[in-house]
């Protein structure tokens, strides 16, 4: 189901240079938009960090402080150094999801490309943490409780790890794609009667919950590879 009207794509209709790229890859254009938004707001809020925070700085401090406390509460003190990656993932997914509610904008997380990219980052970082903390003994995580069950347990563990990537990416993609489809269909059916509005209200809630669930699962996977093997 093609998206009928996208601001950024039509913006590049005027200037011909990025025209083909913008039409083929709208999710990349909107990812750039989200990056500019996040970097811009972050820069504006923290230009001159003061001990008595200004409004912008306070707003971001509430968000980041709250998330960091939640992370340390879930993972433990040894996981504090994950905060930049985890909070970036949360903010990126949250703002990307929210952008989809503005008419004429396409959420970058509504394609499997973006969500699979985020899930792969989490997957590789999990193994990086494991190898960094445990060294070669990280392989014991995959071996199960007794040595003679290894040929049975190891494929199951490997498949379980691969299933994490699949579930993370599909959960986010399915939610956002389904939301876009429902909005499009309702708009086609009864747009004049403001039929998509309740779905958009649900969409704000779903955007936040999906971003939070992605964040929570990521930090649970990180903490899973930090702990000692059973």
């Amino acid at each position: 189901m093609a998206h009928p009207f996208l601001f950024l794509v039509d913006f590049f209709d005027v200037n011909g240079s990025l025209y083909h790229f913008a039409h083929k890859y709208p999710h990349v254009m909107y990812t750039w938009l989200v990056m500019i938004l996040l970097a811009g707001f972050g820069y504006l809020a923290a230009k001159k960090p003061a001990l008595i925070p200004t409004k912008g700085q306070n707003f971001f401090e509430v968000i980041i402080g709250g998330l960091e406390d939640f992370l340390v509460e879930t993972v433990g003190e040894g996981g504090r150094w994950f905060t930049p990656l985890a909070i970036t993932i949360f903010l990126f997914v949250f703002i990307s999801n929210l952008i989809g509610l503005v008419p004429g904008f396409f959420p970058p997380t509504a394609t499997l490309n973006t969500t699979a990219a985020c899930a792969l980052v989490v997957f590789f970082f999990t193994h990086y943490i494991g190898v960094k903390y445990h060294g070669v003994k990280y392989i014991k995580h995959f071996m199960g409780p007794v040595w003679w069950m290894v040929p049975l347990i190891m494929p199951i563990e490997i498949i379980g790890h691969l299933a994490r990537v699949l579930s993370l990416s599909f959960r986010l993609f399915g939610n956002m794609m389904g939301h876009e489809l429902v909005l499009g269909i309702l708009f086609m059916l009864a747009g004049l009667y403001f039929a998509p509005l309740p779905i958009m209200a649900l969409g704000i809630f779903v955007a936040f919950v999906q971003a939070f669930v992605f964040f929570l699962l990521s930090i649970i996977y990180f903490s899973g590879s930090l702990e000692h093997a059973h």
Binding site: S167, F170, G174, M177, G178, L181, V209, F212, V213, L216
Partner: protein, 90 residues
């Protein structure tokens, strides 16, 4: 008309997939919600934590239904053999 049957059956399969998934998801989320509301009724002070845990649990269960939705969408919109079979149709 054998080729047309492919599209008919694939639409029906997509509808059945999401219907059964929604049925299971409804029951699962209902059971989770029931336990959360009972917990809050017993102990109103724990309402914040119980609500957060319930929302996370509901999102997990919902994701199973979303997997079925993705398969249904693939069947309708992006089936890999659709172009070949449409070619047979003429």
């Amino acid at each position: 008309m054998e080729a047309l049957q492919f599209f008919v059956v694939s639409s029906f399969a997509a509808a059945m997939a999401i219907a059964v998934a929604a049925f299971g998801c409804g029951i699962g989320q209902g059971m989770g919600l029931k336990a959360a509301v009972e917990g809050i009724a017993r102990n109103p002070e724990s309402s914040g934590k119980v609500t957060v845990t319930m929302l996370i649990g509901l999102a997990m269960i919902e994701s199973l239904c979303i997997y079925a939705l993705v398969i249904a969408l693939i069947l309708i919109y992006a089936h890999p053999q659709a172009a070949a079979i449409a070619g047979l149709l003429g």
